[in-house]
Every structure is written in C-alpha cells, then in structure tokens.
Symmetry: C2
C-alpha cells in the first residue's frame, strides 16, 4: 500500500491555523512513516508556520486555498465557496488525491462537503455523524449525532451497518449494537424505533442486542448505539453538559474545603488530571462522517493540538483499516 494521504483543513477550528499545524507536526512524529499530510490553505501563511516545526519534507505538501470558512457561517453556503480550505480539502478526497479529510471547522459545513463534494457511497441514502463517546468500556460509538434531524427506519438500519464497520476499525472485533430508546423491552419506544428494530435485526443478526437506554451511552455494554440525529445529538450534548458541571463542582468543593482541600487537591492532582483526560473530548479522536466515499474526520471546534493529532490518527487508522472498502462491500450487498 502506498502512503496514507490526509488533507488537513488548515483554517478550520477556533484555534486554527496554529494548533492544526502543531497537531499535524505531532502526528508526523508519532504515527508511522507512511503518513503524508497535505496542508490545505493559505500557502504563504502555511509556509511560515510550518517552518518552525521541522517537518519531514518528503511527507508533507501544501495545497493552495486562499479562502476560509467561518465557524458561525451558514453551513450550506460552503458549497458555493470553492476556494475555501475546507472545500478544497474535500475536493482532494473526491479527486482521489487524498484518502481522508480532517477538519475542526463548522460541523454543518464539514457534513455538507462530505455529502456533496466527497459524495455518498452507492446504496447509502443518508450520511451520519459517528462519535466515540468516553464510556465505562473506554468508548461507545454513538450515531447519528446530528446529521439528520429526522430519519426513517431504513436510515437507522443503515446507521447500524455503518456503526458496525466503524467500531471494527476502532478495534472492537465483534461489535454489539443497540438501538437508543426509552426502555429495553421490545414494546417500548416509538413507531420508528419498533420498525427500525426489526430491520436492524434482519441486517445484523445476533450483533444487534435490541433497545438500550440513555444511560447505556456511557454506562452500558454495547459497542455501538444507533439513533436518529435529533436524540443522538441530545444525548451527546447532555453528556457534555454533565462533564462540565462535574468539573465545576469538583473545583468548587475543593476550594471550599480550605487548606485541607488544597492539600488534598494537590495529592490527587494526578488522579484529577486522569479524570479530566478521560472526560476530555480531545481524547476521543474526533467524529467520523460515515456513508461517504472517503474518510472524513471532524475534530471538535475547540480542538487543541492533541485533538488535531488524534483526529489525524483515527483518520489514518480508518484508511489503513479499509473502512471505505468495508462499507462499500456491505452496502453493495444490500
């Protein structure tokens, strides 16, 4: 296999372009030699910023894209802004010049270029955003996390198939799949989940365990949880909210415990930093847009260099693991 070429959207994200380039530099040091990074963005700026990083010249290149797309611009307008780093990076994947797109930009815009520039896989009607959420077992893949506010039962079945292949890439050899609902019993749920449940069982056989509940996202036993984009997004954001609240409460409690609290906090510094690291979205490695003809990884908008590095790492693993071929195989059978 030739090198794994990743097109990096240099100007996407709240802390771009600096952390994007720093993250790429980390990735080039830590990942295998066959990783190649295309920096897509403003050439002069990139040349200047990369100069301080001592990058291996045989493993990097620059693709000029003079425009950038704002974090709060209306996502659909990206499709008319063909000179942006995001659009251009997606084009590189579409043109088969790159294997993967990595961006920390505007989620809706990344989704739009994934679906309409990179393009959907044959047999897939809807793309989905898949997020490996930190959980009791390390992580649980939740999808769809917001690409589709409204779905039909067949879409949930397709998400289940995509989530299954994605979990395998992430190292789960026999992934188990649950359908997000309001009770484990078969008769619980909506008309949509009941119909979807039958379709998923047909498509995935014993890998499908049936309904799971909200608490199973971080405290359950399944590898993959399938949902519509509306409730998936609500679950994901609810979880983010609690992680923030817990951080606040811990800090406050320690402060109120006075000098003993300070000492205790000092003694537990390592423990707290591990907790924070576990709950830190930068550690996830980024969300995937599944169902398109290339690996598309979306890092959090507030990504730091570690988050960018991890997004590049999972994109690399997705390419190496043959994610797109696996998905193509699964959907061409359908």
């Amino acid at each position: 296999m030739s090198s794994v070429r990743i097109a990096l959207d240099v100007h996407g994200g709240d802390k771009a372009p600096e952390v994007n380039i720093a993250g790429a530099s980390m990735a080039l040091k830590q990942l295998p030699d066959d990783l190649f990074i295309e920096f897509v963005g403003k050439k002069d700026l990139i040349s200047k910023l990369t100069a301080s990083h001592d990058l291996p010249s045989s493993r990097v290149s620059i693709v000029e894209a003079p425009g950038s797309f704002g974090m709060s611009e209306k996502p659909s307008t990206i499709l008319r802004k063909k000179d942006t780093s995001l659009y251009r990076a997606a084009e590189r994947v579409k043109e088969k010049e790159a294997d993967a797109l990595v961006s920390a930009g505007n989620t809706g815009a990344v989704l739009a270029v994934a679906l309409f520039v990179v393009g959907r896989l044959r047999g897939v009607e809807r793309g989905a955003i898949a997020v490996p959420v930190t959980s009791k077992n390390g992580f649980t893949v939740l999808l769809d996390c917001g690409a589709n506010a409204e779905v039909r039962p067949e879409h949930l079945r397709d998400f289940a198939k995509m989530g299954y292949e994605y979990a395998k890439i992430l190292g789960r050899s026999n992934p188990s799949i649950g359908l997000l609902s309001v009770g484990e019993e078969k008769e619980k749920g909506t008309a949509l989940t009941k119909e979807a449940s039958a379709l998923i069982a047909e498509a995935l056989g014993s890998a499908f365990v049936g309904n799971v509940e909200g608490r199973d996202v971080v405290y359950g036993d399944v590898d993959v949880i399938v949902s519509g984009g509306f409730e998936g997004n609500i679950a994901l954001k609810s979880i983010e909210g609690v992680a923030k609240l817990v951080g606040d409460l811990l800090r406050k409690s320690i402060k109120e415990a006075g000098v003993f609290g300070l000492l205790g906090g000092l003694l537990l510094k390592g423990a707290f930093s591990r907790l924070k690291k576990t709950l830190n979205p930068s550690e996830y490695g980024g969300a995937f847009v599944l169902g398109v003809k290339g690996v598309v990884t979306k890092a959090h908008g507030s990504s730091d260099e570690l988050a960018i590095m991890n997004a590049i790492r999972v994109a690399y693993e997705g390419v190496k693991g043959g994610l797109i071929d696996n998905l193509e195989g699964r959907f061409s059978k359908a």
Copy 2:
C-alpha cells in the same frame, strides 16, 4: 387551610416498606405541623413498622390495601389491581380524601393511576413526567421525561405551560422556558419542534426563550426545558449514566494514586460527599406527574429514606403552593 394530607404508597419501591415508613417519619419531624400522612398498605405490617418510629398519632392514619404491585410488572395491569397500595392511594386522591399521592413504585404504573384513577385536568390532553434535574443553577425542570413516547406540537405547548407553573411552585418566580432541540437557531430542529416553538411562544410570551440544546439541561440558564417523552427520557438517562461513570472514575483514580491518593481522598472526603450529594437523585425530591387532578410525586425506585422524605416534602409544597388550582386556572383559560 386545613392539613395537607399525603397518601403514601407504602409498598412501592425497591426498599419498601421500611424506607418508606422511615422517610415519612423524617418528614413528620422536619415539615410543618399541618402535614398529615396516610400510610396506604398492609395494615398489620404498617402498625408493626410504625411502632418503632414514635409517630404523632394525630398526624397519621392507616388505609388498608392488602395487595402490592411489583417493580417489574406490566404497568397497565395496575388498573385491574384495585386492592394494591398504589391503586388505593390514587383512589384516596380521586376521592378528595388526600391531596397528594407519593410513590416510589413502578413508574409506568404510577403514571397509569395518575392519569386514569386520579384523572386528567380538564383541557389537558396528555400528562407529563417532570423531573427537577441537578444543574448549574441548582436544578432545571425537564419534562416530559417519558410519559409520552410520541407527541404532537400542542402537547409540547401544554408541557411548557405545566412546567412553568411547576417551576413557580419550586421557587422560581419568573421561570424561563426552553424547547429541547439540536441547535439554538430557529431553523434547527424537526417539523415537530418548529411547530411547537410557535405555539409555545404564543402561550408563554417572553418567558419562552426558544430552542435549547442537550447541554442546557445541566449547564444552561433556563428554568424549564420542554421535550417529548422520548428525547426527555434519553437526556435524563444519559445524565444519570455520566454521574455513575464519574463516580467510578474518581474512585479508581484515587485508588491508583496509592498512599498519596488515599490521603488526598481523606482530606477531600467532605468535598466528595458534597459532589455525590449534588449528583444524587435522592436530593431532587422526586418527579411530578403533571396534568392530573391531584399532586402526584414519583420518587426513584431505589429511593432511600431521604429520597422518600424529599418526595413528601415537594408533594407538600405542591399542595401548599396551590399547584393544581394554578394549572386548572391556566388550562381553563385555553
């Protein structure tokens, strides 16, 4: 006003009847003198158990109900089991012999007796489960948390009106209301949320702030969040899951920090117990079934005596605050 009479389902809950009676005993000690508790259940057993609690005889009575309803029985069958403590307690409210029903029993069964024995308020098409969830501002009321898997826009509007009155009873003088969706912008969401948004704005005026996201349940600024029962339940259970995970991670991190960790944990014991207390569902005081002709409080199935006491306390406050009259007034106007 005469005394506040609460019908307590003595046999509902995982730890019933002991903790139910202990919780009632706590409530009788801590709440004002006009609280009166009817213990509904097996008379002989109740007499025996209450004997050790030194209860004020003028403020308690026993209502015989020989049957009990299991935590995992099919909820709808409660309506045929009229001799159970739960059904009988609901009847006391319907007969106007009691002002409120408090139960830690099977959620679906409590909902069923609330709707079909106590009965819906005129003008209310669907009852809702409202839960005050621990949040940045103390608590945020989330409803519906699971009474209705599928709803129409008018139902969400009614939930908003009910949540508004409930938040006032809980001490928020000018409650603000948000609609749970996938983005704050007006154009985000589903056909359902968009239609509901217009109806809620019409009904509540400036108290309605528009769309909110999952993270706002515990980390937002609104007092009340309205949702369908499907996504409300998913948000609530997702939050419960993270609270459990954080507990596990903290324990593990402290343990792995060795002797320093143990010492630090000891020094921060107070801080951790405050954190645990804040995240503890027993502190919430229990969920309300709103939209019925009586105060119905559902304590968590795993309630301890503190949780039962708190459920009795909020039921007491609901009666004192005139929750049912307020709701009746609001819905008769519609």
